[in-house]
Symmetry: C2
Subunit: 274 residues, 2 copies
């Protein structure tokens, strides 16, 4: 790469055509929790993590699924602006929890041109959007996440289609828990989006333990059981009731509202304590 002794020299080249073009995009992993009615009238509806994917209409990756995303408008937007714009387009929601995840810059990420992409996660309360999502978008439940010998398999399902992909993780260095992810198998997702999805889910899983981030996925009122289920879905493990209640106690306040209708003792509704 050419070295420049000063800015003037650089700007000269910059304004000529010596530099190839670069574009940036944002990709957004929109995460929500959905519930699935059970047959047994006593059982509460089963909770699942779900993410929003968009079907591509054109080449490259025609007819494959990808994360909602869009090109950065160089003249007027920040990356955050861009992500918010995409989010508004796809879900018609503003005021959503949005967090920058990672910037991916693999040279062959997009076969058309040089693209660097900054990914985001967005957390959404599914009840807030009606069926307001854009026509080519669809919610996929995260049906399964398993890890065995550093091979992670993820299965998504939108009740019409099943997407399965697997990612191998290898430790980058022994001093931290940072991994290099590589796609082992994937036939329905475009670009390197399997990795973005995994990275996003892992980030959420981590943050759940030391922040109140889950409340961005809850409505205003909820039972402690529901809240616990959301934690369990994200952490991918069962929690003990008494422990959970003690930990969560000072983050929520009890209301006098009661939720009845399940074939069991009714429960009080709580809300997030500001």
């Amino acid at each position: 790469m050419k070295e420049y002794k000063n800015e003037k020299e650089f700007l000269n080249d910059y304004n000529s055509d010596l530099f190839e073009k670069l574009s940036m995009t944002t990709d957004i992993l929109i995460i929500s929790v959905s519930s699935k009615k059970q047959n047994n009238y006593r059982k509460t509806s089963k909770k699942m993590m779900s993410i929003l994917l968009v079907k591509r209409k054109d080449y490259p990756f025609k007819n494959m699924w990808c994360l909602p995303g869009g090109f950065l408008d160089v003249s007027s937007e920040t990356l955050d602006d861009c992500a918010r714009r995409v989010l508004k387009n796809e879900t018609n929601l503003s005021n959503v929890y949005l967090e920058q995840l990672y910037t991916f810059s693999d040279i062959n990420r997009d076969p058309r041109m040089r693209i660097v992409s900054t990914s985001y996660i967005a957390l959404v309360d599914k009840n807030k959007l009606g069926d307001n999502i854009s026509s080519n978008a669809s919610w996929f439940d995260v049906v399964k996440i398993t890890e065995k010998d550093n091979l992670i398999e993820i299965v998504l399902n939108n009740s019409e289609e099943v997407i399965t992909f697997s990612i191998k993780k290898t430790l980058k260095e022994k001093t931290t828990d940072r991994y290099k992810f590589s796609i082992e198998s994937n036939d329905k997702l475009a670009f390197d989006h399997p990795i973005v999805i995994l990275a996003g889910i892992e980030r959420l899983k981590n943050k759940v333990n030391y922040t109140d981030i889950v409340f961005n996925m809850m409505g205003e009122y909820f039972t402690l059981g529901e809240l616990q289920q959301v934690y369990e879905v994200i952490l991918n493990k069962k929690l003990l009731d008494p422990a959970f209640r003690r930990i969560i106690a000072d983050k929520v306040s009890k209301t006098d509202k009661i939720k009845t209708g399940g074939g069991h003792r009714p429960s009080y509704l709580y809300r997030y304590k500001k």
Copy 2:
């Protein structure tokens, strides 16, 4: 912003001059720990966190200090490659711990043109580099970090010059610990680098508690006292000896080497356990 119905339409515009140009850079916060001899022959040398800054030779921000950085070579590099190249240039070190921090995209970040910059932190063992750093670069000790009423003041010192700046942090949302940082005062640092420096130090502070990241800043052999001092410098607080030793015990292995020469009981040298 113009909307495109398909890729073809987009590519047409892309290849014309409708899109303004975008460049990316990486900025690297190189962190190390330095020691300062004490007058008292008994006392161990005082440890400080220190970071590498570069003096700008040209406009804009002529004669101000900034983080080492460089433009992404669009045709051949990933961002990681770019960061490693910059690091090699400045310190002549390869094989350094390097971690992506955050991608900044403020529109007015650089007054010359539209630049999006991905920042990195690099952890370095200062003993490994001789005085091998590039001529316009200098190590600054982080002399003071104080926080009061969400105003953070940082003082840097390279024994010739003192740099003081302050940053206000405001909570982004009540559910997490994410803050929006804005520069309150700064007269010697270019661009938005005060924020990058703070973000990097905070990241390091966090990771220290749940990873072995500090060992990237240590030589092969060290005493437990030295190791503890590095922790204390990063965490900015005193730790209790017995507690520290118990926690660290299974991460290190004792060697039969002994360090003498201080006016006190000599100590065994340890090394990081793989």
